[in-house]
Subunit: 315 residues, 2 copies
């Protein structure tokens, strides 16, 4: 039996997990992400933590097949990071650097893509060949698996599905600088934005009016309780999700769409709302798509990162 | 040296080409597509033509690595056709059937996807790893190459990019039954439709008003001659193309977009019109994309079909 590490590198913490080659997570822990000084300490810290773990447990280095790492920014198929603003990083080959520091082979990918691979392997997408993974959180991210392999893209920014254009006439600007991106409507912050627009545009009574501030969960809770305005907001959100996923699945033609991120905690209410609009907008031959919720939570990135290494070095 | 056949099956003719394994097209010819009787004669006709060619030329069967075929309908990665309305076909495994009839291994794909593979291999996309191919003809079709492999999709309808949703509020219906598909605006017929809307909505003088009927080429020709209304129409078309390709490339992150089909005969005028809008709508990290025109014309399907066989059986 061989073993390896799956590493999910975030802006505040690094999640490190130790796996056997079957994909059983045997151990996991976190270390802080030290972004000071252009993030020069991040990879040495990870290498020290991995080496320390092996020494403490008395694990022979020859049992380790390699490391996988998910990074919050674009990463090319060859392991070249193309700037991570959160970490202070520029352009360099993270796979080569971390490999030098640890002595193990390293495979790297974008964090959202890597989380998609985790859900594909051990989560909501198990048993499929083609999958679209969508995280509905503060932003909208995701990953695409084609014939069992991640779509990385030529510049490491494959599956930036949150920046597909939904409403080109949108006056407000997306964080990316464009106008009308999916993320402006379908993220947790996007839902709040839609709700504020509805509140401003009508006098319909709503529990949301009495709140000093509210979040996406409040909109779902109000809708569940029958709040008419909240239901109008959710209906617009479902419509936008249907257009977005209908277009995306007409391109990818997957077996399954897996929804994750904070908004996916709305669960079956979300799936039941989105599916009818999805069928309105997807190309008929690609319409036989299952919808599922992500099941690995915060561990998806570590699973997917290890799977990257397993696919590359496990044979 | 091994050899093989690339077959492009259309609604009226079957194009058959004979290649060496380097991809040199050594011979090509056409036979009629006999769709009568549910299209039962189509595969036997192809088999007879292929066997006849080998006999006439005295080519030993052991020199043949296999056949590839592009089909005008969805084809799964395993070779299952999922209805071709044009041909009268239902659901069956075309790869197995044609293999039985010829005695050679067969690989099949959707015709637009296969043409994309041809352009990727020997045409406008040569030397790339990730490509988006768009045919702007009577409809809008295309194909996507990810890390050198075609995206077939789970139901054989991958890359139905002409049915991404651009304007969900569109009152007219697309041929697919949905509303607001790319094909309703960006095809040759879509451009004429846009022009008719502009003509009806304004009194701006235009040479198009004097024509009893006109086609997309007339709109481009009028625009080139400075016709104000035609330029407005083309500007809207370019904007829609920019949104469409911006969204698509934010998903796929390719190195190159190759444009083919009748509308692509507008050449650099088309590329110069689309590129500024593309950059307005594509995610910044995926914006370093080359645009090129398809270069294989009607032979793209035969090249791609042979490449399918070469990839599957050529090793």
């Amino acid at each position: 039996m061989k073993y390896g590490f799956g590493i999910d590198l975030g802006g505040t913490t690094v999640k490190i997990a130790y796996f056997d080659q079957e994909g059983t997570m045997l151990d996991k822990w976190e270390i802080p992400t030290v972004t000071a000084g252009g993030g020069v300490q991040i990879l040495p810290d990870i290498a020290q933590s991995v080496r320390g773990y092996l020494d403490t447990k008395g694990i022979p280095r020859k049992q380790i097949l390699g490391l996988g790492i998910g990074v919050p920014g674009p990463v090319s198929g060859k392991g070249v990071v193309n700037r991570c603003v959160n970490l202070g990083w520029g352009v360099f080959n993270i796979a080569d650097s971390l490999s030098s520091l640890t002595g193990f082979p390293v495979k790297a990918g974008n964090d959202a893509n890597v989380a998609a691979l985790g859900e594909f392997w051990k989560g909501g997408g198990q048993g499929c060949e083609n999958m679209v993974f969508v995280t509905l959180g503060t932003g909208v991210g995701g990953g695409i698996v084609v014939d069992g392999r991640l779509l990385h893209g030529s510049h490491g920014s494959g599956a930036e599905i949150g920046h597909m254009v939904l409403r080109s006439q949108e006056p407000e600007r997306c964080s990316c600088g464009k106008h009308g991106c999916v993320e402006q409507y379908c993220s947790a912050t996007g839902i709040v934005r839609l709700a504020k627009r509805h509140l401003a545009a009508s006098d319909t009574p709503s529990v949301l009016r009495g709140m000093e501030s509210f979040v996406a969960k409040d909109v779902f809770d109000a809708g569940k309780a029958g709040d008419v305005l909240a239901l109008e907001v959710l209906n617009e959100f479902y419509q936008l999700m249907g257009e977005f996923l209908g277009s995306l699945c007409s391109v990818v033609d997957p077996e399954i769409v897996v929804l994750g991120g904070g908004v996916s905690k709305a669960g079956t209410m979300l799936l039941d709302g989105v599916e009818p609009y999805f069928h309105k907008y997807v190309f008929h031959a690609a319409s036989d798509v299952k919808f599922a919720l992500a099941s690995l939570g915060n561990d998806a990135g570590a699973y997917g990162a290890f799977k990257l290494a397993l696919d590359a070095f496990g044979a």
